[in-house]
Amino acid sequence: MKSIGEIVPIAVQVQHLSKSFPVEGGTPIHALTDLTLRVEAGSFVSILGPSGSGKSTLLGILAGLDMPDSGQVSLTESGSRSLTSELRSPAIGYMPQHDLLLPWRSALDNATVGLEVAGLPRAEARKRVLPLFTDFGLGGFTTSYPNELSGGMRQRVSFLRSAVLERGLMLLDEPFGALDALTRASMHEWLLASAERMGSTFILVTHDVEEAVLLSDKVYVLSPRPGTVVASVDIVLPAPRSLATLEDPRFAAYRRRLLDVLRSTGGLVTTGRPHR
């Protein structure tokens, strides 16, 4: 296995994707319809959309957990070899909406569980993960149990668990939605740094416009259900990005533009930042 920094990023191409869920005794829910998008290898892309626009459904399909009704998904390592579906899940790191830490494992052992599942002995997995604890701002909490950690720390352990798998594509499903504004801001800075260091491709699902602008190279806006791409906006902001980027007038412009798109498609009822 490679250490972080030697990850081969993956490019993603999604074409004409549709997915509906049967409803017992009712009409099926059309979650996605004719969705097409492209994600460059090593870039950070946000999928922005109102609640119920099928964002999580899209991630499930990208992660190989769900099958689309129609359409195609292709994942390509930047070396150009296309990945078959068996290869897909070991190539992907998934960070769920809730931290989903195991209460019976310490922070360190939660972070190693992915490696253990991949067949690494626990001792070796610990050896590999331990140095990263400080980098992730978790130093001194290795032996703490999830119930002893703050929400932000739990999210970081959860992220670390996926990150140490060194996958070329990281899928983040609204990971910061449950955090308070302050914690979320620090998590944003931290994620920017981590993404930079890893070099993987990142796809973040969110309904937070500011978060999307701050973190992404490109934002795809989805319509309300059935979700389809209604706009794609390339975000060009000076690197390295940080919380100071929020002050940049271009940041405000991007934000206004995305809000306008959302409003015009009925994805935004009130002005201002959407709250959970």
């Binding site: 899940s89 769920p96 569980v113 599942v117």
Partner: protein, 267 residues
């Protein structure tokens, strides 16, 4: 989850019931000595606590021999119940078809009155230890199955999806996620089971045995020795309580995280 936990009881919690118990025993002693002893044959109705204590001491040898048999049957039956109960829980959890095929039958098995079944077990398997183990197993396995199935079902489906992205196999998910997650529920099933299991063994002995508290108690009843019958009851209760405490201790050792989380949540 409702649960009865060990160790949270402080001296403050123990003193009031101890006083109540002492008063109750005193009243009982007085009633036996003053009221019942005045009636011819009255001591056969309710022996005084001190008579029960005396019976415990006098018959210590016989009680020990018979207790040993009962405990052995109980433990073996419990092991059987754990193995079978856990096995059924896993099978039911793995396959919805098996769930439909097995679960109703398991429920039906619990509606069979032991009163009717235990004698048959003796006819089929004789007077040895086997029918007793089977009675204990039958009494105890059901709460374990139910608790196990509930525990497995309580696994967060998102967690399973997450582990699938790790490339985890079904077995790996079972080992890392479902089994540890089901343990608290399983243990509450076991705690229910251990409170029944001694009674199961005594029942098994009641329908025919060479040794054991069940048959010993019956001999004593037939010999009009009510004090020793009560002594047997005391021993049976003591075994049940000891098993319950032992289970709670094992539980604390096996799933300490569950108690930590619980303490935090109740703060």
């Amino acid at each position: 989850m409702t649960d009865i936990r060990l160790g949270t009881a402080t001296a403050r919690n123990l003193v009031p019931p101890a006083i109540t118990l002492a008063l109750l025993l005193f009243a009982w002693e007085a009633y036996s000595r003053i009221v019942l002893d005045a009636i011819p044959g009255g001591s056969r109705l309710l022996p005084a606590p001190t008579s029960v204590l005396a019976a415990l001491v006098t018959n210590a040898n016989d009680l020990a021999i018979n207790t040993w048999h009962t405990v052995l049957e109980t433990m073996l039956g419990l092991v059987l119940a754990l193995a079978v109960g856990f096995g059924f829980a896993v099978i039911i959890d793995l396959s919805p078809m098996m769930r439909r095929a097995i679960y109703p039958l398991l429920v039906v098995s619990q509606t069979i009155p032991l009163l009717a079944l235990a004698p048959l077990l003796v006819l089929w398997f004789g007077f040895g230890i086997l029918p007793k183990i089977l009675v204990v197993g039958l009494v105890c396995f059901f709460p374990i199955v139910v608790a196990g199935v509930d525990g497995f079902r309580a696994t967060d489906p998102e967690l399973i999806r997450l582990f699938r992205t790790f490339g985890a196999s079904k077995w790996s998910i079972f080992k890392h996620v479902r089994l540890p997650g089901a343990l608290p529920s399983l243990f509450s099933g076991v705690r229910i089971a251990v409170t029944y299991c001694v009674i199961g063994a005594v029942w098994g002995e009641y329908v025919g045995a060479q040794y054991g508290l069940g048959i010993y108690m019956q001999s004593k009843q037939h010999a009009f020795d009510v004090a020793t019958v009560f002594a047997c009851v005391v021993v049976i209760s003591a075994i049940s309580i000891a098993l319950f405490l032992l289970t709670s201790l094992i539980e604390r050792a096996v799933i300490p995280w569950y108690f930590r989380a619980g303490e935090r949540n109740t703060q």
